[in-house]
Symmetry: C2
Subunit: 165 residues, 2 copies
DNA sequence: TATTGTTATACTCTATAACTATA
DNA sequence: TATAGTTATAGAGTATAACAATA
């Protein structure tokens, strides 16, 4: 929580309602509050890192998953990305328009597409992954390996508890 | 990462591109990836918790900070919430329209408003905080106190590194 | 009947510029 | 001239219903 300077109420005690320091006492214990703030920063920071490649977090994630899983179908990718199928369509459209991936037909199921990276896509992937790795190293430089692992494990646990709360 | 069932390619080896399990090998090391997934879950889960009170994460956070900091100004609140001032206006509008808070004039600075909770607002606050606390307890039940503190400390560190990466 | 991808649509959150009234 | 709050607006992410083609 940022400590807000505010304007001191002066030497008099007449003005009683001036807030010179914002307290987040009630929120401090809530994971969601900290998560949101940290995620906002990661999101915008990562956006800056990906801008030179004309990628956003969503297009970057989709590209990486397609490279790692050639032949992936859109519904599988949507599931893996935790994105609704309709919202994935525009993401795939964009990657295809830029000729970073292709939509191949699946011979055994003519409803589906097998997503594959192109050479151009793979080259962009290499550069983008390197940039993101360097960026994360900067962002997390003060956290040691053990701490990172604890955090990642905790985040996965939260995932697992989805819907139970 | 959810393990996707996929359809087995059958007993033959002819179909080579069927993905039966989505690998996130490249993404697994990225904090931003896990953070996004966990935050999405917290966000939607929390939304469900706050729905009976007709609150969202943003209106809830604003209400709590106003209760904890009577007389807070909008610009201070925007700063504390990491929200742009224009975006806070509609949040405050909504809370005021529902008579949960009031915009009092600051006598010493007629440009500013001193935000204060009403009795109705305070009553909603009590119930909402209790519900959110219970919800978080459910969501984080598998994480012990030490782990939670490590995670929160890590999230704050990320906040502190804002813009450096 | 069920599933894959698609279209259309709506709502929320975020970000910027420009205005007003005060300081 | 700078600041507090506001208006307008645009972009991005998310969510649901309904459709055509195929299984």
């Amino acid at each position: 929580m940022k400590k807000l300077e505010g304007k001191a109420s002066g030497s008099s005690d007449v003005v009683t309602s001036d807030v010179t320091h914002v307290s987040d006492a009630t929120l401090r214990q809530f994971m969601g509050y900290h998560m949101k703030r940290a995620f906002n920063i990661i999101q915008s920071d990562l956006g800056r890192t990906l801008k030179p490649f004309d990628l956003r977090m969503l297009t970057y994630t989709a590209l990486v998953l397609i490279v790692d899983n050639p032949g992936l179908r859109q519904s599988q990718l949507a599931d893996a990305m935790d994105v609704e199928r309709p919202n994935l369509v525009v993401i795939i459209d964009e990657l295809e328009r830029r000729e970073l991936i292709v939509r191949d037909r699946v011979p055994t199921d003519r409803r589906a597409y097998a997503l594959k990276v192109t050479l151009t896509g793979r080259q962009l992937y290499e550069k983008a992954v390197a940039a993101v790795t360097a960026h994360e190293e900067q962002l997390l430089q003060q956290l040691d390996g053990d701490t990172r692992q604890i955090v990642i494990a905790a985040l996965k646990t939260i995932e697992t508890n989805r819907g139970k709360a």
